[in-house]
Amino acid sequence: MELFRIKNDIPFMSYGRLTTAISLITFILAIVFLATRGLNFGVDFTGGTVMEVNYPQAANLENVRKAVDSIGLKEATVQNFGSSRDVLIRLPVKTGLSVSQLSEQVKTALVAADPKAEIRRVEAVGAQVGDELYENGGLALFFVSLGIVLYLWLRFEWRFAIAAIIANMHDVVIILGFFAFFQWEFNLTVLAAILAVLGYSVNESVVVFDRVRENFRKMRKASVVQVIDNAITRTMSRTIITHTMTQTMVGSMLLFGGEVLHNFALALTIGILFGIYSSVLVACPIAMWLGVNRANLIGDVEKKEGGKKVEVEVAEPHPSDFA
């Protein structure tokens, strides 16, 4: 079976304006949502308490609310999740009461209201810890970006490095935009997913850039646009297959992973979908506009690899090179 029977190279670069425009619009929309709605940070970042309570029968939310209110926690949110028997309670940080004292009080109140209540999970984070996690998250994002730029710079060329990181930051912003628009909870695992996506979708750019560099060596007469179009077309099959496989796994997590992994898988899904698009259709045009050409790519290689280049050229002329 083969899905991709592409005879001629698809002129991706001639759609450059269109794809960039689409990106720009989604990007701006994401920023707008982030600015107006903001992210719905989970307790990991804001501090506070989340409790998961299970009841043997359908939970009476009104009673649960009353129990929580009875200890003077008016700001608590009480809601069902998963099934009608599972209740999620969120409490903000309360000054003058340590997180552990607070959770103990709520537990006592809940069990007093219904002895069959089973407290399945408690996450209580102090405000200060939350601030630190927030800071560390930002630092992690920064260092991942820096590391990737440096690596691509060394391995390819600064134009590719810049193009790849712009494309991938654009993915990150769009994921954040989704989380802001739908007000999905943004917690530590989502942050982990975003960083994983960052590493993963740079892969995508690397695969295409690798091909671009190889093509510059082999397709001596072709223009930059032809070289890039060919590289994208040749790697397209792999791109689609790989992402389908990864998404299959992530989809499985979305289905079976439960509450804790749900948003993690969601962030990965958006990241994978936009990752395909951006690392190919955003990174390549940017690299092109930054002026990637044969000289600044192969020039580097010649210095590094010396005579090896000649051998490659002679070895196998690619039929499609002249298509």
């Binding site: 695992t189 892969n203 992973g257």
Partner: protein, 614 residues
């Protein structure tokens, strides 16, 4: 062209074998067990305990699967949880309060695996259930407590040297000494510099008064903070031992935090109560006037003489001590084991702060020949740790407590003296509790995600790439095998995000095989021979695979460096998954392909799915 040298085939085979050995323990599951550990650090742990445990089982007719002695204590395995619980009760009754008996789970893997060090993966709290606390040590309190001690020290030093001063006060972490004249200040400064070289001294004037300000130097501050957190951790260890938790984790995190993880603990209220408890140490005089047996008998019945209380020492003998407290543990700055230079016997050397030293000097001067009791008050019960005879006046704040049986006891008692109380208050700043059913559910969620995802990928790969798809799936399965083996070997904590990382690692690792397979197809499409296509396909794909994995690795490392708790777990698995995937996707899959095609004389067609020729 497509044959591996023998050593490469052997390498692959050996790696897979090792992978198998270290993965199997995860399949044997765990059987209910009890763990017996000494409740006090002074109680011996040796094979005598093992015999004792076996004897109790025999007497009570309890069937057990095995009993072992290891560094932490004695462990016994049982066939059912009913026997386990019965055994726990029987042991607790038979061994008394000297030992802690805790319920535990032990791997059911056979002995030969255990002797190879093959253990199942270490499950995090979100997978096995339990409580996680992050405790913040109040370093400001530790520092001001230290400064408070210097206030007393300065007073006694200045008095001793007959330097007249107006007053000594503490302002935050700073100690201010006020003088009427410059000359006194200069004298004082010289003395203080000599006695306390770790303090930073500055001078200022306030009207007529000259002020000498002493603040803790950074080195001294660090020393105090280190001491405070070490002592708090030691105290936590002692307290948690009483909880009867099988494998508690108590670790320092950063400079002022302590992580406490108690697997299997569900009663969080009790855990918090015990962790947050304050223990105190007291030094009181033994009432030597009333030691006749009648008074003792009455005292034990609850009628102690006026102004006295009766407590038991470590051997269980009652001792009558005065109610009046001479010193509390707050005055102890350090305690350590030592040897008496004259008798050569083990001692405990206690260092008291200035005020404590003065009180101690006075009391010892007035009570030569009498006994002094050192009491540890914890959880509402008081125990006389030791009651030595005062041989003479002891000044300078250095107290030598003799009467230790051996060095071990001296070490243990100095530990107790140091660890009896918290050096600085601690607060719980993060709590995560996971119920036991939730833990199992989380395991199932992670397992199902991985399993179904893997199966779906396997089916798609095999349909799309035929024989090469089968090879890719086999490589992916070996990737999973190696990843689980490494995680089991390292005993890295596996959390739910870690399980997600396993799934994600597989979903991403398949990329390498897709790259290779697509390259081979492309080479075939270009009219190369099958053998040459395999060779070129693997060769060319390698560069790309390396590049793309390095970027993923960068992300993984950053996550590891900045992540905490569950995220760190994710990062560890993520990074390991990338490393194993490079090995399995390239080396292992090539070995398989070589075995299939490399030894055939003539290969006219590769089973890699239909290829459309341009």
């Amino acid at each position: 062209m497509n044959r591996y040298p023998m050593w490469k085939n052997i390498l692959v085979a050996v790696m897979i074998l090792i992978g198998f050995i270290y993965t199997i323990p995860n399949f044997f599951g765990e059987s209910p067990a009890v763990q017996i550990t000494p409740a006090k650090s002074t109680t011996k742990l040796d094979s005598a305990l093992l015999g004792q445990v076996e004897a109790i089982f025999k007497k009570e007719n309890i069937q057990y699967d095995g009993v072992y002695l290891d560094a932490r204590g004695v462990k016994a395995r049982f066939a059912s949880t009913d026997t386990q619980i019965k055994a726990k009760d029987v042991l607790q009754a038979g061994l008394g309060s000297d030992y802690t008996v805790a319920l535990n789970l032990l791997s059911r893997s056979p002995d030969w695996l255990r002797s190879l060090g093959a253990k199942p993966m270490y499950l995090g709290l979100d997978l096995r259930g339990g409580v996680h606390f992050l405790m913040q040590v109040d370093m400001k309190a530790a520092l001001s407590k230290a400064a408070e001690r210097f206030v007393g020290d300065f007073r006694s030093v200045l008095r001793k040297e007959r330097i007249s001063y107006v007053g000594v006060t503490r302002e935050g972490d700073e100690v201010q000494v006020r003088f009427n004249s410059e000359a006194e200040l200069i004298k004082a400064r010289a003395i203080i510099t000599k006695e306390y070289p770790n303090l930073t001294l500055t001078e200022s004037t306030d009207g007529e008064e000259k002020i000498l300000k002493a603040s803790l130097s950074l080195v001294e501050q660090k020393h105090i903070q280190d001491f405070a957190i070490k002592q708090n951790i030691q105290t936590l260890h002692n307290r948690i031992n009483e909880l009867g938790v099988a494998e508690p984790i108590i670790q320092q995190q950063g400079i002022d935090r302590v992580v406490v993880q108690l697997p299997g603990v569900q009663d969080t209220a009790k855990a918090k109560e015990i962790i947050g408890r304050t223990a105190t140490l007291e030094i009181r005089m033994v009432d030597e006037d009333k030691t006749d047996s009648l008074t003792m008998e009455n005292a034990l019945k609850g009628q102690a003489p006026m102004g006295d209380e009766v407590y038991k020492d470590r051997e269980g003998r009652p001792i009558l001590v005065k109610k009046n407290v001479v010193l509390t543990g707050d005055y102890i700055t350090d305690a350590g084991p030592g040897v008496d230079s004259q008798s050569g016997r083990s001692t405990v050397n206690v260092t008291l702060d200035g005020r404590g030293a003065r009180i101690f000097q006075q009391v010892t001067r007035e009570n030569v020949g009498k006994r002094m009791a050192i009491l540890l008050i914890e959880k509402g019960s008081t125990e006389v740790v030791t009651a030595p005879v005062i041989n003479g006046e002891i000044g300078g704040g250095r107290v030598q407590i003799t009467g230790m049986a051996n060095t071990q006891e001296a070490t243990d008692i100095s530990l107790l003296l140091r660890a009896g109380a918290l050096a600085a208050p601690m607060d719980i700043v993060e709590e995560r509790t996971v119920g036991p059913s939730m833990g199992q559910e989380n395991i199932n969620r992670g397992m199902h995600s991985t399993l179904w995802g893997f199966l779906a990928i396997a089916v798609m790969m095999m349909i799309y790439y035929m024989a090469f798809g089968v090879v890719s799936v086999a490589a992916l399965a070996i990737n999973l095998l190696l990843l689980v083996a490494i995680l089991s070997m390292l005993q890295a904590t596996l959390t739910l995000p870690g399980l997600a990382a396993i799934a994600l690692a597989l979903g991403m690792a398949i990329d390498a095989n897709v790259l290779i397979n697509e390259r081979i197809r492309e080479e075939l499409r270009n009219g190369n021979t099958p053998q040459a296509s395999i060779h070129a396909g693997y060769d060319r794909a390698w560069d790309t695979i390396l590049d793309s994995n390095v970027t993923t690795l960068i992300a993984g490392l950053a996550l590891f460096m900045f992540g905490t708790g569950p995220i760190k777990g994710f990062a560890v698995v993520h990074v390991l998954g990338i490393l194993t995937s490079m090995f399995s996707a390239v080396l292992v899959s090539r070995a398989f392909v070589n075995l299939i095609y490399g030894y055939r004389r003539k290969v006219s067609k590769l089973s890699i799915g239909q290829i459309f020729k341009a």
